[in-house]
Amino acid sequence: MTAIPALTASDLKYGYGREASIVNGFNLEVAAGEWLGIVGPNGSGKSTVLRMLSRLAAPHGGAVEMDGRDMAGLDGKAIARQMTMLTQTQEPVTDITVRELVRRGRNPHLKWYEECRGKHEDVVDWALRVTSMDPLQHRLLQELSGGERQRAWLAMCMAQTPKLLLLDEPTTYLDIAHQLELMELIRGLNRDQGITVVMVLHDLNQAARYCDRIVAMKQGAIVREGSPSELFRADFFRDVFGIEAKVYYDDGVPVYLPCGIAKRGSAAESA
């Protein structure tokens, strides 16, 4: 008997009219406690999948289950107590301090008449601490650097005390040091707090270094799936991304080096 998966997507479909299949028959089981990476070329539908998993977008077919229950029938706050997402970019919210932002993460845990006080403030303190934002908590959001601001929003996500954290390319606009800082931070949340992580990434080497498991999408469906060392082969890069690549190993972690665009053959379609 296996444990109930943290998140299950069955036969998800998205797209209508001319964009008939942004996502077409997406199936996924996310085990509790794992760190899953979703990779794929531009337009492969990975961000759309993440929006459906987080219920920001309603699937046009199929269902998402959280802890074995269909999300479509669950209350928004009940979902928000279990799961949240750090989006790639956020609204430029002004005149709000980091702490005020993080406090709003308690919303799903508060009744309509309740204020963020007492034990909820303790959770806010904790969320600021695990994201190393406590020294900046009284700064205004608009005064922070891009990396700090991304961490502030992550702190708000943590104040929701989610079991499941989705992230949509959260490092895209960060320099390499801030990228690694954020990845290390999420590793800590995954390992120490036991938070299940589902993350869309662009950087395949970071995916290999941090993720337990990777699914690769192309044209709206999963085409490959496995651990980084299982997946990282020359044919994987050729088939999924249309590039020639060499794979090396560094301390048991696969690292790829792109060498050029793959010649169009039977397996490699244009990406």
Binding site: E91, V93, P135, C157, Q160
Partner: protein, 343 residues
């Protein structure tokens, strides 16, 4: 260890100073309002000293001061207070749900809808002038409903709402202008209303506006949390368990209700709903629990002060308060934008 303590100490100090600042702004704003009310009761064609204002308020008598203070100035000041509160609260809410600091009650068609309805009554059906407030109110609601319906496509995004608002506003504005050009002999009576005026507003006006204001403010209290989520963006609000579309609709409804009630009594007073929330946000931040009440008080204070100036500076002409607000407000607003207040 030592650095840790000072770090924490500094953080606490920052939190305290922010809190202290908010309390100071709140107290300052209440003081400003009371001062505006007092000066509003003292000044006019006949100046009445503060002491005499006070006795006139407390004791009924046949004195001239009592007549002026109780029957003329007090209802006018209080009507201005309510109108200012309604407009500022509506503006504060709308700037939040549109996530646009330039949003105001005009953007969703409240002013142009109410305006057209009022102009129709004043020019075409002057014998039904008694129905002007209710017509203006319904016109405001109808225009906002049209804007919302036009903007709807799998939800009403802020951008589509603003675009639909611009389109509806220009259409209704054209209708107003056309009516006035075709009936130019009657325009004189319309102009003060169009620019927003408290001239001749008395107890019946106050009594009409009061229940709307009270109901609107009570409803506001229930939408503070929703507004606090919506300012974070639609995605973030939904990820935090908020009901985005329903919340936005309720807030737009409430703002329409408040602003529509205000303009149906005092005419098309602009700028209060734009400038007051903008300034208050710079002072106390974007938390509606404090932002909304301070905006309300500030809106009341501004309208009273502007009306007092409008009727005493240009004596014997009663200058419409709306024009003065725009004349004073626009440059001040630009100054604020350029300076970008530092905290």
């Amino acid at each position: 260890m030592a650095t840790l303590v000072t770090g924490k100490g500094r953080a606490q100090q920052a939190a305290l100073s922010r809190h202290a600042r908010r309390v100071a702004v709140l107290i300052g704003m209440v003081a400003l309002l009371l001062a505006a009310m007092l000066v509003g009761l003292m000044s006019g064609a006949i100046s009445i000293p503060a002491r005499e204002v006070w006795t006139s308020l407390l004791h009924a008598s046949d004195s001239e001061a009592r007549q002026i203070v109780w029957n003329l100035r007090l209802p006018r000041v209080l009507t201005g207070l309510l109108a200012g509160i309604c407009l500022a609260v509506a503006g504060a809410f709308l700037q939040g749900v549109f996530r646009n600091p330039l949003a105001d009650p005009g953007i969703i068609g409240v002013s142009s809808g109410g305006g057209l309805a009022a102009v129709v009554i004043m020019i075409l059906f002057p014998e039904h002038i008694a129905y002007l407030p209710i017509s203006a109110f319904l016109g405001a609601l109808a225009a906002a409903a049209v804007v919302y319906a036009l903007a709807w496509k799998d939800g009403a995004s802020p951008l589509r709402l603003i675009l639909a608002g611009v389109a509806v506003n220009s259409l209704l504005g054209a209708g107003m202008t056309a009516l006035m050009i075709l009936n130019s002999e009657k325009v004189q009576s319309v102009l003060p209303w169009m620019s927003g005026s408290l001239n001749g507003r008395s107890w019946p006006h106050f009594d009409t506006l009061l229940p709307y204001t009270v109901v609107g403010l009570l409803a506001s209290a229930f939408l503070i949390k929703t507004a606090n989520l919506l300012v974070l963006g639609d995605d973030a609000a939904k990820l935090l368990g908020g009901r985005v579309e329903a919340g936005r609709l309720l807030i737009i409804l409430l703002s329409t209700f408040l602003a529509g009630a205000a303009i149906s009594i005092v005419g098309m007073v602009g700028f209060v709903g734009l400038v007051v929330p903008h300034i208050v946000r710079l002072l106390v931040g974007n938390d509606y629990r404090i932002f909304l009440p301070v905006s309300a008080i500030g809106g009341g204070a501004l309208v009273i002060a502007a009306d007092t100036a409008a009727r005493s500076w240009f004596d014997p002409i009663e200058f419409p308060v709306g024009i003065l607000l725009a004349l004073l407000g626009a440059p001040f607003f630009l100054y604020l934008l350029r300076r970008g207040i530092k905290r």
